[in-house]
Subunit: 299 residues, 2 copies
């Protein structure tokens, strides 16, 4: 029988801790959400953010802006001393221009961790703001949410074994998706934690390890045969759903796409199945809001 | 009868000036090209760069690197005091990861002007490195090449009229392409020079002016009827070629795509036709190399 992990329950444990941290901060924390699109999932994600904010005691202000006003609005929030974090609901224009917008967010208010300042630190495995600083870097919300869900699934061995090696040493993970928002940062983070990551995307397969990225000609079949962990985020209905015959019976499977990437039999064969990530993603955005405040905005 | 402008001839005038400037610099200037792909146009573009370097007295070193070594190689050139500029031949991975690579180039060696440091200055119309600095900012090569070709075509009125207004005041331009590499920076640069720019792309039309970007529902037909300048860069063979009936008889037309975007009759109807931009693009990369040296590397 497959164990299903509900991300809302995992999120709740984090939120309890965040509530206590927010309560201990005298300054009223505020997160500003910028919503330019009427695209359904973005509006839903904004309402999830609002709930999570209410739940943890952070003020949330949702501003609906014209897409062409987005850049000006980001700059206004960057300059606003009462705002501690900015959340932007993508997609707005498309990959290229949205990428430009991501980089207009001040790293000090970038709760999504998607600006090049934080991404560069991530890919270089620089875990602190500076050498010898105790201030931790910001990691992008969705990859971080996935790692925390794997922790909750008991996959990582950090708690019992951190003295002997990195938490994912010896583990093989297959990740379907290599976007700069989730798949590639996630693969890099897993590799930094000791895993061997088999990364699939329309650009072909790559292997991520502590040695960096390498080319490979490994097939999907061979990759899945080796993987104790399978992470999917393919928003394409033409993607051939992962079948039960492809995965191991001890596999931990997690899907962060808004559509189904595993067929029902595969879900039932998996040892642990995590059907979605959303509630943890917004929780990580709040965790980042507090971290940014502690790093940059508190006296 | 249409006047055809050969970009090689325009480039030659610039190269004569660049040769003189290079000859006056004691330090041997060096540009490093990084080529990861066997994609035809990239290799061709690299050989054009080499010719332009030989022609102006700048040393050119072409390094063939595995795509996964690209990031490390960029960092090595960033750190190399003997190298004054980096030229990367895209596409390598795809829009998202290539965009990440663009941002790994030090702004002080970014002869293509595509790092977010320079792009941000461009979009804000900040023409100097700092307020009150006389050091000019770097502009991306292809948009700059197009502007210089329009100058050469006598379109801008900078030389006769700079006291009375911006050089493209009163002009309407249609641009087909809104990539972050050419179309959008070009539209912004033209608008900063006083033009009204009608920008078409799969994301729909937008208007760029001194007021910024605005939404519009202008049709292609209406846009072309109003435009004295038409710039195309559509690499898609499904693009409906621009017909003679669509353009004005006083139109200046310029195509920077590697494929045909105007049909033959349109080419013949245009007052001035500029069939390609390539030779000017590499010339602008050399101009940027010298500017970066003067701004950052000379004593």
């Amino acid at each position: 029988v497959t164990k299903i992990i509900d991300p809302s329950q995992v999120a709740e444990a984090f939120r309890a801790e965040l509530r206590a941290r927010v309560a201990a901060i005298e300054t009223p924390l505020k997160l500003v959400g910028l919503l330019a699109t009427d695209f359904g999932p973005s509006a839903t994600y904004a309402s999830y953010t609002e709930k999570a904010c209410v739940d943890t005691g952070v003020a949330f202000e949702l501003r609906r802006v014209q897409r062409l006003e987005m850049e000006r609005e980001i700059e206004a929030v960057n300059q606003d001393p009462m705002a501690h974090g900015i959340m932007i609901y993508y997609p707005i224009f498309g990959v290229e221009l949205d990428n430009y917008l991501k980089d207009q967010v001040s790293p000090q208010k970038d709760v999504e961790g998607l600006s090049s300042y934080w991404m560069k630190k991530l890919y270089r495995d620089e875990r602190f703001i500076q050498d010898r600083s105790s201030k931790k870097a910001i990691l992008p919300c969705t990859p971080l949410a996935i790692i925390k869900l794997l922790d909750a699934a008991g996959v990582t061995v950090a708690s019992v074994n951190s003295a002997t090696g990195p938490p994912l040493e010896g583990k093989t993970v297959t990740v379907f998706n290599r976007s700069e928002v989730v798949g590639r940062p996630l693969a890099a983070m897993l590799a930094h934690d000791g895993a061997r990551v088999l990364s699939f995307d329309i650009g072909g397969p790559l292997v991520f390890s502590s040695q960096g990225m390498e080319e490979t000609n490994l097939s999907r079949r061979a990759a899945l045969e080796q993987s104790e962990l399978v992470v999917t985020g393919v928003p394409d209905r033409n993607f051939a759903l992962i079948q039960a015959s492809e995965i191991r019976s001890d596999a931990v499977c997690i899907n962060f796409s808004t559509i189904k990437n595993f067929d029902d039999a595969a879900r039932e064969k998996a040892r642990i199945f995590i059907p979605r990530v959303g509630p943890m993603t917004v929780t990580m955005a709040l965790r980042n809001t507090i971290r940014l405040f502690e790093n940059f905005h508190s006296r």
